[in-house]
């Protein structure tokens, strides 16, 4: 399990306080003297790390403007491909045809899992892969069919642009269908808060986004946690990618270098992702 949010916040807060005093040397130094804007969009699992990194960079150098939008992995890939943004994030590896079409170059800076989540009030804490497939396809409709209360299951899913949906559909549902009656939400954050407020909900969310407000459901006996994803015991894992059109240049390169630096990697780790270095 990841460390508590409170600790993260305190850590981030201390870091932000330290930055202006110049004690925070190292990789942020490379942004000194830079100017201009950097546009990032796409994968929603990435957003917390992106926001924190941007805050730190902009605090050191207010002349840099970094904008971060969501949209989902599909959006990130096409927008960077079309040249609308400088960095397009994706929660899945861009497909070969996408790489060929846009000449993408990618940086994988963290590993993340996708876990099934239910409301903390739900007694169900473990499901088999077959049960999960049937719940999401709409074959299993009530919680008491899987050992829960006698209530209808509210299935939550993501839109088609989502990398999380693609990874989950491929590795957990074996490309099986998701019921059309599922409520559609637009980001990992939205998935988490929806499941956190709906006592009969089931959804899937980036392991990095899991916290106490939702209950992670074990699949075939394995809980989706940083440790199980890291040890590859939990099978639904994916890389978090940041893509550029062609080889990264200028600010985009410095930003990606920062993500891969020790500080960037610890930032990823503090948000519940598994650093690649």
């Amino acid at each position: 399990m990841k460390t508590t949010t409170l600790k993260n916040m305190a850590l981030a807060f201390i870091l932000i306080l330290l930055i202006p005093t110049g004690l925070m040397a190292g990789s942020l130094d490379s942004f000194k003297g830079e100017k201009g804007s950097l546009k990032i969009s796409g994968g929603t699992a990435h957003i917390p790390v992106m926001k924190d990194a941007a805050k730190r960079i902009m605090a050191v150098n207010p002349d840099i403007q970094i904008s971060i939008a969501g949209g989902g992995s599909g959006v990130g890939i096409t927008q960077v491909g079309e040249g609308l943004v400088d960095i397009g994030n994706s929660g899945r590896k861009p497909k070969d045809e996408e790489i060929a079409k846009y000449g993408l170059s990618m940086v994988e800076w963290a590993i993340d899992g996708v876990g099934v989540a239910v409301n903390p009030a739900n007694p169900v804490g473990s499901l088999t892969k077959a049960q999960i497939t049937d719940i999401f396809s709409g074959k299993i409709t009530h919680w008491n069919q899987v050992g829960g209360v006698d209530k209808a299951i509210n299935v939550y899913t993501r839109d088609e642009a989502s990398g999380t949906r693609e990874v989950f559909g491929e590795k957990a549902l074996n490309k099986g269908p998701i019921t059309t009656k599922a409520v559609v939400v637009a980001s990992n954050g939205a998935m988490k808060s929806s499941v956190a407020t709906d006592p009969y909900a089931i959804g899937y969310v980036s392991v990095g986004h899991m916290d106490k407000s939702v209950k992670a459901v074990s699949m075939d006996g394995v809980a989706p946690t940083v440790d199980t994803v890291k040890s590859r015991k939990y099978p639904i894992a994916r890389g978090l990618y940041s893509n550029t059109k062609g080889t990264p240049k200028g600010l985009a390169k410095k930003f990606l270098d920062y993500l891969m630096s020790a500080e960037g990697q610890s930032l990823a780790e503090s948000h519940g992702f598994i650093p690649v270095k």
């Binding site: 959006v75 209808a152 059309t180 409520v183």
Partner: protein, 278 residues
């Protein structure tokens, strides 16, 4: 100076025309392939290459007509109070409140809806997520009421004072004057207000996007989640520029534009019909 005014008028008109033209041009491939009309009746299933808008059209019509069902009586009653039934001070307070209500941002309605109405409906229904047609229709009815109330009460106020006075002098109470004199003379305003309210409900994006659940199934009950055309544009916009999903956005836009243009024409037609009658 006149050329300047003329040029502004032409530019403004062009904006209106350009919006349709853009939508038609960008949706043209769908027309050329004859897909447009089959899209109106087929489901949305991108993974199987089906990009129909039927569920969204039903969602839009269902949610906005339900909003009208809730909103119309509320608006009629409130407007009646404002224009004659209520004592003057109360009417003034009501009118000011309604005017201030027109300023409540739709995203704020949505925000409150997410945290207040959705859990309420979820508990009430006993099943489902609470994100459903009923929730968004209820909230939308509050959103569109001020528009309808102000239209209604403007129409009611157009009944001349001397006509009201005539009825009062004959012994009519305020409610009698309203029911038997003012209301029958305001048919046009009632219909206009209804159409405006419907337009406002169909055109709203945020309430539907935030609390109707956005499911792509055709809704089959008040407690089913549903997706509207507007929310669909907001959800899919982010996708691929060359993909068929993206092209269907313009079909979505065209259908919405068609609905609203039709209601605008209807309001104008009503205007002409009633003008020629009197």
């Amino acid at each position: 100076m006149k050329p300047f005014f003329f040029i502004s008028a032409v530019i403004s008109a062009c904006v209106s025309v350009c919006i349709v033209l853009f939508m038609i041009i960008l949706g043209l491939p769908l027309f050329r392939e004859g897909l447009f009309f089959s899209m109106l009746t087929s489901p949305w299933n991108p993974s199987n290459g089906v990009f129909g808008l039927y569920p969204m059209i039903i969602g839009t019509l269902g949610i906005s007509s339900l909003a009208l069902v809730f909103g119309f009586p509320l608006s009629l009653g409130t407007a009646a109070l404002i224009s004659g039934l209520a004592p003057k001070p109360l009417a003034a307070v009501l009118r000011k409140t309604v005017q201030a209500m027109t300023g409540i941002p739709t995203v704020v309605y949505g925000f409150i809806g997410v945290f207040l109405l959705v859990p309420l409906i979820r508990n009430l229904a006993g099943e489902g997520s609470g994100m459903c047609i009923l929730s968004s229709a209820l909230l939308l009815s509050v959103l569109i009421s001020p528009t309808m109330i102000l239209t209604f009460s403007d129409t009611f106020d157009q009944v001349p004072v001397k006509t009201r006075m005539a009825a009062t002098a004959l012994g009519a109470t305020p409610v009698q004057t309203f029911l038997w004199v003012v209301l029958p003379a305001s048919k046009k305003g009632l219909v206009t207000g209804l159409i405006l309210g419907m337009g406002r409900a169909m055109g709203d994006t945020l309430i539907a996007l935030m609390i109707s659940g956005n499911a792509i199934a055709v809704p089959d009950s008040l407690f089913s989640p549903a997706r509207t055309l507007t929310a669909h544009i907001a959800l899919v916009i982010a996708s691929d520029f060359d993909s068929p999903e993206f092209k269907t956005l313009f079909a979505c836009g065209l259908v919405l534009y068609g609905f609203t243009a039709l209601s605008t024409l209807a309001v104008r037609a009503i205007d002409t019909v009633f003008r020629s009658e009197s």
